[in-house]
Symmetry: C2
Subunit: 291 residues, 2 copies
């Protein structure tokens, strides 16, 4: 019966959930393909299974090391991509990551940095508009923003930050515009103490994510968009540990230090200006080709 082992295994997949049958059939086929290709020794196979056991030991209610592995192999981005195909001109989505939490509503122009990082890091003015794919402004769009401080920690990871630090809910005005004041984001490493770090070391990869802001935008009549904004010039743009970078999400920071610039953006010190427009897809957009 070993002549067609895979066929035997697939023939046993039943049950009353057609989607689950489809998923398990595909997963089984691809994993058998992997075994046929690399012909693991029994020691290698056991080492792989024990790596999964060890990964399980790093998981807690607040940490899912399997998500980290998924990120590091580009699988989270792959899943994001297949779910967020959109029309020409839409700002591409990017993975949400594990650090979203409820943000406080703030006025346009608000400072969202309230901790000591505001003294240590370079200041930033971030602004732009929320538009449809034709360039028409979308008033009343809500931007849910979150970023790490200059040491790479989010408020939820760091007792020295107040809840809601470096987070904001902003609502665009009649012109679709938004703006806020913050610090320039920094690159930072993903957690390396678990099996994720072990994998990166074993295949000669660094753990760094390029500097970025996170944003999730919702607006009546439009598809929600969860994405990142990255900074041009970051040394890790081409080797993001989580493979979340897309060319369209990279913005060029512009140094501003003249009296007129400071006055215009209500700043006391020189800063980087980050201007980024978001383009949302209509809520009812369907990709004919992908259906």
């Amino acid at each position: 019966m070993a002549e067609d082992l895979l066929g035997q295994v697939l023939a046993q997949i039943g049950g009353d959930n057609p989607r689950l049958r489809e998923v398990i059939t595909s997963l089984t086929t691809h994993l058998h393909g992997f075994v046929a290709e690399v012909k693991p020794t029994e020691e290698e196979w056991l080492a792989g299974l024990n790596f999964l056991v060890e990964t399980g030991r790093w998981c807690t209610p607040r940490r899912n090391e399997f998500i980290l592995l998924s990120d590091m192999l580009g699988l989270t981005t792959a899943v994001d991509d297949v779910n967020h195909v959109g029309p020409e001109g839409m700002t591409p989505s990017s993975v949400e990551g594990p650090f979203h939490s409820p943000a406080p509503p703030r006025e346009l122009g608000a400072w969202i940095s309230h901790g000591p990082e505001r003294q240590r890091a370079t200041s930033a003015v971030v602004h732009g508009r929320v538009l449809d794919t034709d360039g028409t402004p979308i008033p009343g769009a809500v931007l849910d923003l979150w970023q790490a401080n200059d040491t790479g920690l989010y408020d939820s990871q760091d007792d020295s930050q107040d809840d809601g630090n470096l987070r904001a809910l902003l609502t665009t005005g009649a012109d679709g515009a938004y703006w806020f004041r913050s610090i320039v984001p920094s690159s930072y490493p993903v957690p390396t103490d678990g099996t994720g770090g072990k994998l990166l070391t074993a295949i000669g990869r660094h753990p760094m994510r390029p500097a970025h802001l996170h944003v999730r935008i919702t607006a009546d009549g439009y598809r929600p968009l969860t994405t990142h904004v990255f900074l041009a010039g970051d040394p890790y743009l081409d080797s993001d540990a989580a493979f979340a970078v897309k060319d369209e999400l990279v913005v060029e920071p512009v140094r501003r230090e003249t009296e007129a610039d400071l006055r215009r953006w209500q700043m006391d010190t020189p800063f980087e200006e980050l201007e980024f427009d978001f383009h949302l897809a209509p809520a009812d957009w369907k990709d004919g080709a992908a259906q």
Copy 2:
């Protein structure tokens, strides 16, 4: 940069271990193929990762639930198969499973059942020869045998059995022959309390393994062989939860109850005779085609 996400991920795989690079490259490619094929929603992907987290929670120093999942998807057998290609006529290998432990040396003909199962179950006389692939007997071959009792438990799982019950190390005589007395093996379920059981239920599969004996044979000048012997007529032969059955490993039990049969095999009660010859490959056999 999303145009070729997989290419980006593969381009980052480095490090000084070429075999690990090969394995991770293949695994990454197959997992991206899986995502492209089934297009999981984000909820489905997270459910899959959380299934792995839950699997980790079932693992202890004595239990590896990932091995059970590997067994149930036929992957353990696939790994066994790629590692045990042999010459024409060799008895096929089959997976070792998790229940091997050191066995006591016993004389040929010994009873290996010493617990109450011997009263409850049908008795068996198991015999045959260890031969090379040309049929020449191999004297001095050591058979390391283990089987479950009539409730499907091995001594290591069951406080009511003494250590070494239903286990034996037997050495073949000058004619390559072996024999022992025991109970007829029973079919039994794999553990179903963890995620392995959850998976089986979800895809409409039963957890049963057909009745079998385990054996590992070593002999000077021959490749070690780890395999199973199954019983013809078992209702689970075509749907072994662990996909370990191969046609060549199935033996037809023969009912014996005449006075002459009892005397010949030193039995007091009717029994099933199981006759099985094992054929070992030379230690230096190489599969030219597979290299």
